[in-house]
Symmetry: C2
Subunit: 350 residues, 2 copies
Amino acid sequence: MSSHTPINRKVTLNDIAAGCELSRATVSLVLRGSPLVNKHTRARVEEELRLQGYVYNRSAANLRRRTSSSIALVLNDLANPFFAEFAAGVDQTLGEAGFVTLLGCTSESATREQAVLSSLLEHGPGGIILSPAEHSNAHDVLAAVGARSPLLLFNRELGGTLPEFAHWDQLMLDNQHGARLATEHLIARGHQRIAFFGGHRDSSSCSQRHAGYVQAMQAARLPIEPHWRIECAPTRLEAAHQTSALFAGTPTPTAAVCYNDAVALGLMLGLNQRGLRPGQDFALTGFDDIAEAALGMPPLTTLSTAPRERGQQAAKLILQRLQEPQADSRQTIAPVQLVVRESSCAPPTA
Amino acid sequence: MSSHTPINRKVTLNDIAAGCELSRATVSLVLRGSPLVNKHTRARVEEELRLQGYVYNRSAANLRRRTSSSIALVLNDLANPFFAEFAAGVDQTLGEAGFVTLLGCTSESATREQAVLSSLLEHGPGGIILSPAEHSNAHDVLAAVGARSPLLLFNRELGGTLPEFAHWDQLMLDNQHGARLATEHLIARGHQRIAFFGGHRDSSSCSQRHAGYVQAMQAARLPIEPHWRIECAPTRLEAAHQTSALFAGTPTPTAAVCYNDAVALGLMLGLNQRGLRPGQDFALTGFDDIAEAALGMPPLTTLSTAPRERGQQAAKLILQRLQEPQADSRQTIAPVQLVVRESSCAPPTA
DNA sequence: AGTTACATTTAGATCGTTCTAATCCGGCAG
DNA sequence: CTGCCGGATTAGAACGATCTAAATGTAACT
């Protein structure tokens, strides 16, 4: 065993000070690289730190300084690759800024969200990045975090009215514009009967995407049939099950703008089961550009949201907010990019 | 604005004590549900806590009690769905036990791993769950964390010899057994010429899986040709590129046990490009059971590792270790399960 | 020598909690 | 009246850092 391995208790500033016959204060100055301290003593102290295997106790420092070096990251679904990439981006940027990420997953439960938030708050994060659970509302979140903690909402808006005095920041995807791009792309390919498939009507992202779809259809003076809007949970399985609903009424659509990639991949399965070849007999688009999108059969036309970059952006935004707590709240809308692949074919030349 | 919203500074035990004309100590007892305190005063204090919007400062408490309520989770690649699921499982179980997760991503860089570990340690986690970066070694990890912090290694072993006095726990997948199951399954389907495809020879998980493959082949008295082992990075793209190597020598294999799902999916692409239909003209298996495996064309026979359950298990193991720091170190090997799908067809009846 | 200036070091309070060892008080036995 | 018990409360020192204000030492300038 190497001689510097600490045997028993944690070694503190006092131990180092004693070892050098100096005061705590001086050692503390050394740790923080103060120019006040004599370079000879600095060297002595640094040697001792190494020798005793000192590790800085940031909690103690934060307590005294009334600062924080952590950010809470609360996600509705970490298992979703989109949020996993996002989290990786957040952690990377926070880490570079010397902050640490306190993770919390809510599994889409507003109840758990409350519990997770208050548990994380007890550890005194400097700020919070929150991607809300499905039926989370502004009132409860406010009760849990108070109006004092900097909060950045990501991806979804909160239900209920959010009080004006809590100036929370927002980082949202440009859902409406993205869906409009997808729809316009299908129209440019020659489609006239286009459905909007998947998602729940009361989710903010879904209604925004639907709005973009409507916008594009109206701009092209194309009709929208009510039975061309199919709701379903945003999972592959549900989407596959709802496929038949697409063809229940007439006129039948020749293409669909899907709520997201998961839904689109599910729809592909459903189409195959009906003997329709996606990307040949029927066109469709997704949203998110998850890894599987590029590998589908056929590869999926979708909107790239660059989740890792969003994570980095979210981290930067919350760090900025820490710098200027009083600044006006920011509403950021991140652009999305259309990625054209083979699933968005022209309509069959009937 | 509701009247209880705190206006200015953080409210502390002192504020509550003053509000009730009691001492800090009594309030502290109330917080921790001590039976010592009179039930009437308890009610008064709880009212005041609610009124002032008190939030517990766990860092301060941890400082005084010399305890910790956090666990560091250090991952080589959070963007990988396998690890994302794992992280979700860890966080869930830790949360239920009142612990919080300190996240750190290393992006497969041993250098970043060092930085991340020492940064996290400054926040005084009670223990560490580490899925090491690719070329991480025991010596460096020891230097960063010391021998005192409970550490659980997940998924990969560390390079170098790990010192016997640092009793670190391990949670590994049963790679060897899994690969053996896959190989036996192919043999049972009638294959005799089976290759082992993908992965790097120096990765511990790869060599374990290869060993399982060899075991099954030898048990069935089947020959193994040297040119049936193809190495490549565990990504889809690399795997697709290496497909031709499989058919370079004679006799050519009729099936392949792939290092993992990513490699298997890449191989499918490569087979398609050569005009071979995976699951009909050539059989293959994967490892991990990622979400895409079930949706491939054809669906992939693979080994399910239940990453979320592994995360829960890892959390339980590290919490157990916190209870009994002196107990002998545990080496846990998690079972894997063969999931048979269509990619593992019988050989063509030539 | 006395004063000032500067560089370096430090004693001691402090952050918000917990813990130890009292203290206080009403009742009850002797 | 005294002593003791037990329930309820508390003063004050921790925990490991930082910060303020002051102390120390040394050199330079009147």
